[in-house]
Protein backbone atom coordinates (compact mmCIF):
# COMPACT_ATOMS: atom_id res chain seq x y z
CA UNK A 1 0.00 0.00 0.00
CA UNK A 2 2.81 2.39 0.99
CA UNK A 3 4.81 1.50 -2.12
CA UNK A 4 1.80 2.20 -4.35
CA UNK A 5 1.26 5.58 -2.66
CA UNK A 6 4.93 6.52 -3.13
CA UNK A 7 4.78 5.54 -6.81
CA UNK A 8 1.62 7.57 -7.38
CA UNK A 9 3.09 10.65 -5.68
CA UNK A 10 6.27 10.28 -7.76
CA UNK A 11 4.24 9.98 -10.98
CA UNK A 12 2.27 13.12 -10.19
CA UNK A 13 5.47 14.99 -9.24
CA UNK A 14 7.31 14.08 -12.45
CA UNK A 15 4.30 14.79 -14.65
CA UNK A 16 3.78 18.20 -13.06
CA UNK A 17 7.49 19.00 -13.36
CA UNK A 18 7.49 18.13 -17.04
CA UNK A 19 4.36 20.13 -17.71
CA UNK A 20 5.85 23.16 -15.95
CA UNK A 21 9.18 22.97 -17.76
CA UNK A 22 7.83 21.93 -21.17
CA UNK A 23 4.22 23.11 -21.51
CA UNK A 24 4.18 22.03 -25.17
CA UNK A 25 4.45 18.41 -24.02
CA UNK A 26 1.38 18.63 -21.79
CA UNK A 27 -0.80 15.58 -22.51
CA UNK A 28 1.75 14.11 -24.91
CA UNK A 29 3.08 10.62 -24.29
CA UNK A 30 6.73 10.44 -23.29
CA UNK A 31 8.69 8.43 -25.82
CA UNK A 32 12.34 7.59 -25.51
CA UNK A 33 13.10 7.95 -29.21
CA UNK A 34 16.68 6.74 -28.88
CA UNK A 35 15.50 3.53 -27.28
CA UNK A 36 12.78 3.10 -29.91
CA UNK A 37 15.34 3.44 -32.71
CA UNK A 38 17.73 0.99 -31.06
CA UNK A 39 14.97 -1.57 -30.76
CA UNK A 40 13.94 -1.12 -34.40
CA UNK A 41 17.55 -1.47 -35.50
CA UNK A 42 18.15 -4.56 -33.37
CA UNK A 43 15.12 -6.23 -34.95
CA UNK A 44 16.50 -5.57 -38.43
CA UNK A 45 13.56 -3.37 -39.39
CA UNK A 46 14.12 -0.70 -42.03
CA UNK A 47 11.64 2.16 -41.64
CA UNK A 48 10.38 3.49 -44.98
CA UNK A 49 8.23 6.53 -45.54
CA UNK A 50 4.55 5.66 -45.57
CA UNK A 51 1.74 7.05 -47.70
CA UNK A 52 -1.31 8.87 -46.41
CA UNK A 53 -0.44 11.12 -43.50
CA UNK A 54 -0.26 14.80 -42.74
CA UNK A 55 1.86 16.98 -40.53
CA UNK A 56 -0.22 18.66 -37.84
CA UNK A 57 2.31 20.90 -36.13
Amino acid sequence: MLAVTILMVAAVFFTNSRNALHPELRGAPRVDVKRVLERIDRAGLEPQEAKYYRVIE
Partner: protein, 325 residues
Amino acid sequence: MNKIECLLCPKRCQLVEGERGDCKVRINLEGKLKTLVYGKVCAFHVDPIEKKPLSHVLPGSGSFSVATAGCNLHCKFCQNWEISQREPEETNNHDMDPRETVRLAQHYGCKTIAYTYSEPIVFYEYMLETARLARQSDLRNVWVTAAFIEQKPLEELCQWIDAANIDLKSIRDEYYSQVCFGRLRPVLDAIVTAVKKGVFVELTNLLVPTLNDSEEEISELTRWIAENVGVEVPLHFSRFHPMYQLTNLPPTPVGTLVRAREIAMAQGLEYVYIGNIPDTEASHTHCPRCKSLLIERQGYRIVRNRVGEDGKCDSCGHKIPGIWK
Protein backbone atom coordinates in the same frame (compact mmCIF):
# COMPACT_ATOMS: atom_id res chain seq x y z
CA MET B 1 6.63 19.02 -31.91
CA ASN B 2 6.64 17.18 -35.29
CA LYS B 3 3.14 15.85 -34.66
CA ILE B 4 1.54 13.95 -37.53
CA GLU B 5 -1.77 12.28 -38.32
CA CYS B 6 -1.99 8.94 -40.11
CA LEU B 7 -4.69 9.05 -42.79
CA LEU B 8 -4.67 5.39 -43.73
CA CYS B 9 -7.42 4.09 -41.46
CA PRO B 10 -10.38 5.70 -39.73
CA LYS B 11 -8.60 5.68 -36.38
CA ARG B 12 -6.51 8.59 -37.71
CA CYS B 13 -3.86 8.17 -35.02
CA GLN B 14 -2.10 11.38 -34.07
CA LEU B 15 1.50 10.66 -33.26
CA VAL B 16 4.30 12.60 -31.62
CA GLU B 17 7.96 11.84 -32.37
CA GLY B 18 8.77 8.18 -31.73
CA GLU B 19 5.17 7.18 -31.14
CA ARG B 20 3.51 4.45 -33.20
CA GLY B 21 -0.08 4.02 -34.24
CA ASP B 22 -2.66 1.65 -32.86
CA CYS B 23 -1.60 -0.83 -35.58
CA LYS B 24 1.89 -1.05 -33.97
CA VAL B 25 3.70 -0.84 -37.30
CA ARG B 26 3.47 2.80 -38.37
CA ILE B 27 5.60 5.27 -36.49
CA ASN B 28 6.46 8.96 -36.39
CA LEU B 29 10.20 9.34 -37.00
CA GLU B 30 11.60 12.82 -37.51
CA GLY B 31 8.18 14.18 -38.32
CA LYS B 32 7.50 11.62 -41.06
CA LEU B 33 5.20 8.62 -40.95
CA LYS B 34 7.27 5.49 -41.48
CA THR B 35 6.19 1.90 -42.00
CA LEU B 36 8.24 -0.68 -40.14
CA VAL B 37 7.05 -3.67 -42.14
CA TYR B 38 7.83 -2.93 -45.78
CA GLY B 39 9.13 -6.29 -47.09
CA LYS B 40 9.30 -7.72 -43.55
CA VAL B 41 7.10 -10.76 -43.96
CA CYS B 42 6.37 -12.78 -40.83
CA ALA B 43 4.16 -15.43 -42.47
CA PHE B 44 4.07 -16.85 -45.99
CA HIS B 45 2.54 -20.00 -47.36
CA VAL B 46 0.96 -21.46 -50.46
CA ASP B 47 -2.71 -21.88 -49.57
CA PRO B 48 -5.63 -23.18 -51.59
CA ILE B 49 -7.63 -20.12 -52.65
CA GLU B 50 -10.63 -21.79 -50.97
CA LYS B 51 -8.97 -21.17 -47.59
CA LYS B 52 -9.21 -17.36 -47.90
CA PRO B 53 -12.19 -18.12 -48.29
CA LEU B 54 -12.89 -17.34 -51.94
CA SER B 55 -15.25 -19.76 -53.63
CA HIS B 56 -15.65 -17.92 -56.94
CA VAL B 57 -12.02 -17.15 -57.73
CA LEU B 58 -9.92 -19.61 -59.76
CA PRO B 59 -11.17 -22.71 -57.87
CA GLY B 60 -8.51 -25.25 -57.00
CA SER B 61 -5.61 -22.86 -57.55
CA GLY B 62 -2.78 -22.04 -55.17
CA SER B 63 -2.48 -18.58 -53.64
CA PHE B 64 0.88 -17.31 -52.42
CA SER B 65 -0.13 -15.82 -49.08
CA VAL B 66 1.83 -13.22 -47.17
CA ALA B 67 1.50 -11.20 -43.98
CA THR B 68 3.43 -8.90 -41.71
CA ALA B 69 2.89 -8.15 -38.04
CA GLY B 70 0.20 -5.72 -36.94
CA CYS B 71 -3.48 -4.92 -37.23
CA ASN B 72 -5.61 -1.81 -36.85
CA LEU B 73 -8.35 -3.76 -35.05
CA HIS B 74 -8.09 -5.83 -31.89
CA CYS B 75 -10.81 -8.43 -32.18
CA LYS B 76 -11.17 -10.43 -29.00
CA PHE B 77 -11.63 -13.59 -31.07
CA CYS B 78 -8.65 -13.10 -33.40
CA GLN B 79 -7.44 -16.40 -34.88
CA ASN B 80 -4.06 -14.93 -35.84
CA TRP B 81 -3.40 -12.82 -32.77
CA GLU B 82 0.14 -14.15 -32.46
CA ILE B 83 1.11 -12.01 -35.44
CA SER B 84 -1.70 -9.46 -35.71
CA GLN B 85 -1.46 -8.22 -32.14
CA ARG B 86 2.33 -8.06 -32.04
CA GLU B 87 4.86 -5.41 -32.83
CA PRO B 88 7.16 -6.28 -35.73
CA GLU B 89 10.08 -6.49 -33.29
CA GLU B 90 8.34 -9.47 -31.71
CA THR B 91 7.79 -11.60 -34.82
CA ASN B 92 10.26 -13.62 -36.89
CA ASN B 93 10.51 -11.66 -40.12
CA HIS B 94 11.83 -12.64 -43.51
CA ASP B 95 13.21 -10.07 -45.91
CA MET B 96 10.93 -10.40 -48.90
CA ASP B 97 10.70 -7.35 -51.12
CA PRO B 98 7.87 -7.08 -53.66
CA ARG B 99 10.01 -8.46 -56.50
CA GLU B 100 10.97 -11.52 -54.45
CA THR B 101 7.35 -12.06 -53.42
CA VAL B 102 6.24 -12.14 -57.05
CA ARG B 103 9.14 -14.43 -57.96
CA LEU B 104 8.19 -16.91 -55.23
CA ALA B 105 4.53 -16.87 -56.24
CA GLN B 106 5.54 -17.78 -59.78
CA HIS B 107 8.06 -20.36 -58.57
CA TYR B 108 5.32 -22.19 -56.67
CA GLY B 109 2.92 -22.07 -59.61
CA CYS B 110 0.39 -19.81 -57.88
CA LYS B 111 -2.16 -17.83 -59.82
CA THR B 112 -2.67 -15.24 -57.12
CA ILE B 113 -0.87 -13.44 -54.34
CA ALA B 114 -3.00 -13.11 -51.21
CA TYR B 115 -2.43 -10.33 -48.69
CA THR B 116 -3.87 -12.01 -45.66
CA TYR B 117 -3.53 -13.60 -42.17
CA SER B 118 -3.07 -10.35 -40.20
CA GLU B 119 -4.53 -7.09 -41.62
CA PRO B 120 -2.98 -6.12 -44.97
CA ILE B 121 -4.08 -2.51 -44.56
CA VAL B 122 -1.24 -2.01 -42.10
CA PHE B 123 1.33 -3.13 -44.68
CA TYR B 124 -0.33 -0.98 -47.31
CA GLU B 125 2.80 0.25 -49.13
CA TYR B 126 4.28 -3.24 -49.45
CA MET B 127 0.94 -4.65 -50.63
CA LEU B 128 0.48 -1.87 -53.18
CA GLU B 129 3.91 -2.27 -54.77
CA THR B 130 3.72 -6.07 -54.78
CA ALA B 131 0.27 -5.94 -56.35
CA ARG B 132 1.52 -3.61 -59.06
CA LEU B 133 4.43 -5.93 -59.92
CA ALA B 134 2.20 -9.00 -59.73
CA ARG B 135 -0.15 -7.57 -62.36
CA GLN B 136 2.81 -7.03 -64.69
CA SER B 137 3.64 -10.71 -64.23
CA ASP B 138 0.12 -11.96 -64.99
CA LEU B 139 -0.64 -12.78 -61.38
CA ARG B 140 -3.90 -11.73 -59.72
CA ASN B 141 -4.11 -10.00 -56.34
CA VAL B 142 -6.33 -11.11 -53.49
CA TRP B 143 -7.02 -9.00 -50.42
CA VAL B 144 -8.32 -10.63 -47.24
CA THR B 145 -9.32 -7.82 -44.96
CA ALA B 146 -11.58 -6.31 -42.35
CA ALA B 147 -11.69 -3.23 -44.59
CA PHE B 148 -11.31 -0.69 -41.80
CA ILE B 149 -9.70 1.79 -44.15
CA GLU B 150 -10.13 5.38 -45.32
CA GLN B 151 -11.69 5.95 -48.73
CA LYS B 152 -8.73 7.58 -50.47
CA PRO B 153 -6.16 4.81 -49.89
CA LEU B 154 -8.88 2.27 -50.60
CA GLU B 155 -9.60 3.78 -53.99
CA GLU B 156 -5.93 3.67 -54.92
CA LEU B 157 -5.64 0.06 -53.77
CA CYS B 158 -8.72 -1.06 -55.70
CA GLN B 159 -6.91 -0.37 -58.98
CA TRP B 160 -4.60 -3.30 -58.23
CA ILE B 161 -6.81 -5.75 -56.37
CA ASP B 162 -8.74 -8.35 -58.35
CA ALA B 163 -10.67 -10.05 -55.57
CA ALA B 164 -11.29 -9.48 -51.89
CA ASN B 165 -12.74 -11.39 -49.03
CA ILE B 166 -14.03 -8.75 -46.67
CA ASP B 167 -14.90 -9.59 -43.11
CA LEU B 168 -18.23 -8.04 -42.19
CA LYS B 169 -17.98 -8.88 -38.52
CA SER B 170 -21.41 -7.63 -37.53
CA ILE B 171 -24.06 -5.18 -38.61
CA ARG B 172 -24.00 -3.50 -35.18
CA ASP B 173 -21.69 -0.64 -34.32
CA GLU B 174 -21.58 -1.69 -30.63
CA TYR B 175 -20.09 -5.02 -31.68
CA TYR B 176 -17.38 -3.28 -33.67
CA SER B 177 -16.56 -0.91 -30.83
CA GLN B 178 -16.75 -3.39 -27.95
CA VAL B 179 -15.41 -6.59 -29.49
CA CYS B 180 -13.13 -5.30 -32.27
CA PHE B 181 -12.18 -1.76 -31.17
CA GLY B 182 -13.30 -0.31 -34.49
CA ARG B 183 -16.42 1.15 -36.07
CA LEU B 184 -18.99 -0.26 -38.46
CA ARG B 185 -19.66 2.66 -40.86
CA PRO B 186 -16.21 2.80 -42.52
CA VAL B 187 -16.38 -0.96 -43.17
CA LEU B 188 -19.78 -0.72 -44.86
CA ASP B 189 -18.52 2.19 -46.96
CA ALA B 190 -15.41 0.23 -47.93
CA ILE B 191 -17.46 -2.77 -49.06
CA VAL B 192 -19.64 -0.58 -51.28
CA THR B 193 -16.59 1.21 -52.71
CA ALA B 194 -14.70 -2.01 -53.46
CA VAL B 195 -17.69 -3.44 -55.32
CA LYS B 196 -18.23 -0.18 -57.23
CA LYS B 197 -14.54 -0.05 -58.20
CA GLY B 198 -14.81 -3.47 -59.81
CA VAL B 199 -13.09 -5.61 -57.17
CA PHE B 200 -14.74 -9.03 -57.04
CA VAL B 201 -15.93 -9.21 -53.42
CA GLU B 202 -16.94 -12.12 -51.22
CA LEU B 203 -17.98 -11.47 -47.63
CA THR B 204 -17.37 -13.40 -44.43
CA ASN B 205 -19.34 -13.20 -41.22
CA LEU B 206 -17.88 -15.01 -38.19
CA LEU B 207 -20.76 -16.05 -35.97
CA VAL B 208 -19.76 -15.78 -32.32
CA PRO B 209 -22.19 -17.40 -29.86
CA THR B 210 -24.21 -14.85 -27.86
CA LEU B 211 -22.38 -11.86 -29.37
CA ASN B 212 -23.61 -11.59 -32.97
CA ASP B 213 -25.58 -14.75 -33.72
CA SER B 214 -29.19 -13.70 -33.11
CA GLU B 215 -31.60 -14.35 -35.96
CA GLU B 216 -32.55 -10.68 -35.88
CA GLU B 217 -28.96 -9.55 -36.42
CA ILE B 218 -28.28 -12.13 -39.13
CA SER B 219 -31.42 -11.00 -40.88
CA GLU B 220 -30.35 -7.35 -40.64
CA LEU B 221 -26.86 -8.12 -41.94
CA THR B 222 -28.02 -10.16 -44.93
CA ARG B 223 -30.66 -7.53 -45.77
CA TRP B 224 -27.95 -4.89 -45.85
CA ILE B 225 -25.92 -7.03 -48.28
CA ALA B 226 -28.89 -7.63 -50.56
CA GLU B 227 -29.88 -3.96 -50.60
CA ASN B 228 -26.43 -2.39 -50.87
CA VAL B 229 -24.13 -4.67 -52.86
CA GLY B 230 -26.47 -7.22 -54.37
CA VAL B 231 -27.70 -10.76 -53.88
CA GLU B 232 -24.99 -12.16 -56.14
CA VAL B 233 -22.20 -11.29 -53.67
CA PRO B 234 -21.12 -14.59 -52.07
CA LEU B 235 -21.39 -14.75 -48.28
CA HIS B 236 -19.51 -17.13 -45.99
CA PHE B 237 -20.78 -17.81 -42.49
CA SER B 238 -17.76 -18.91 -40.53
CA ARG B 239 -17.64 -20.99 -37.38
CA PHE B 240 -16.07 -19.44 -34.29
CA HIS B 241 -13.57 -21.46 -32.27
CA PRO B 242 -12.58 -20.30 -28.76
CA MET B 243 -9.43 -18.23 -29.19
CA TYR B 244 -7.37 -15.36 -27.83
CA GLN B 245 -9.53 -13.40 -25.37
CA LEU B 246 -12.74 -15.33 -25.98
CA THR B 247 -11.86 -18.76 -24.69
CA ASN B 248 -14.89 -18.69 -22.42
CA LEU B 249 -17.32 -19.12 -25.31
CA PRO B 250 -18.15 -22.43 -27.02
CA PRO B 251 -17.67 -23.03 -30.75
CA THR B 252 -20.61 -21.90 -32.88
CA PRO B 253 -23.21 -24.68 -32.97
CA VAL B 254 -23.56 -26.10 -36.48
CA GLY B 255 -27.31 -25.51 -36.22
CA THR B 256 -26.72 -21.76 -35.85
CA LEU B 257 -24.66 -21.70 -39.07
CA VAL B 258 -27.28 -23.69 -40.94
CA ARG B 259 -30.03 -21.36 -39.69
CA ALA B 260 -27.98 -18.30 -40.68
CA ARG B 261 -27.63 -19.71 -44.19
CA GLU B 262 -31.39 -20.27 -44.40
CA ILE B 263 -32.02 -16.67 -43.32
CA ALA B 264 -29.56 -15.33 -45.89
CA MET B 265 -31.09 -17.37 -48.69
CA ALA B 266 -34.56 -16.25 -47.65
CA GLN B 267 -33.30 -12.68 -48.12
CA GLY B 268 -32.46 -13.65 -51.68
CA LEU B 269 -28.69 -14.11 -51.40
CA GLU B 270 -27.68 -16.54 -54.13
CA TYR B 271 -24.38 -17.92 -52.89
CA VAL B 272 -24.20 -18.64 -49.17
CA TYR B 273 -21.50 -20.89 -47.77
CA ILE B 274 -20.61 -22.28 -44.36
CA GLY B 275 -16.94 -22.38 -43.40
CA ASN B 276 -14.66 -23.72 -40.66
CA ILE B 277 -16.58 -26.99 -40.34
CA PRO B 278 -15.88 -30.39 -41.89
CA ASP B 279 -17.45 -31.34 -45.20
CA THR B 280 -20.86 -29.87 -45.65
CA GLU B 281 -23.36 -29.51 -48.42
CA ALA B 282 -23.08 -25.77 -47.80
CA SER B 283 -19.55 -25.67 -49.20
CA HIS B 284 -20.71 -26.49 -52.75
CA THR B 285 -21.67 -23.95 -55.41
CA HIS B 286 -25.05 -24.31 -57.07
CA CYS B 287 -26.48 -22.44 -60.02
CA PRO B 288 -29.11 -20.08 -58.62
CA ARG B 289 -31.18 -20.44 -61.79
CA CYS B 290 -31.28 -24.17 -62.63
CA LYS B 291 -30.04 -25.36 -59.20
CA SER B 292 -27.44 -27.73 -60.69
CA LEU B 293 -24.40 -28.56 -58.64
CA LEU B 294 -21.58 -26.60 -60.24
CA ILE B 295 -18.60 -26.86 -57.90
CA GLU B 296 -18.35 -29.79 -55.55
CA ARG B 297 -15.87 -29.42 -52.71
CA GLN B 298 -14.38 -31.73 -50.14
CA GLY B 299 -12.71 -29.52 -47.56
CA TYR B 300 -10.50 -27.24 -49.65
CA ARG B 301 -10.31 -29.80 -52.47
CA ILE B 302 -12.28 -29.36 -55.67
CA VAL B 303 -13.96 -32.65 -56.58
CA ARG B 304 -15.71 -31.31 -59.65
CA ASN B 305 -16.01 -27.92 -61.37
CA ARG B 306 -18.62 -27.36 -64.02
CA VAL B 307 -18.18 -23.61 -64.33
CA GLY B 308 -16.44 -22.95 -67.60
CA GLU B 309 -13.71 -20.38 -68.18
CA ASP B 310 -16.48 -18.14 -69.48
CA GLY B 311 -17.99 -18.23 -65.97
CA LYS B 312 -21.25 -19.79 -67.10
CA CYS B 313 -23.28 -22.67 -65.70
CA ASP B 314 -22.75 -25.58 -68.09
CA SER B 315 -26.39 -26.62 -67.77
CA CYS B 316 -28.32 -23.39 -68.35
CA GLY B 317 -25.69 -20.81 -69.30
CA HIS B 318 -26.41 -18.57 -66.29
CA LYS B 319 -23.49 -16.23 -65.58
CA ILE B 320 -21.87 -17.05 -62.25
CA PRO B 321 -20.10 -14.05 -60.70
CA GLY B 322 -16.38 -14.50 -60.08
CA ILE B 323 -12.98 -14.89 -61.71
CA TRP B 324 -12.76 -18.14 -63.61
CA LYS B 325 -9.68 -17.87 -65.80
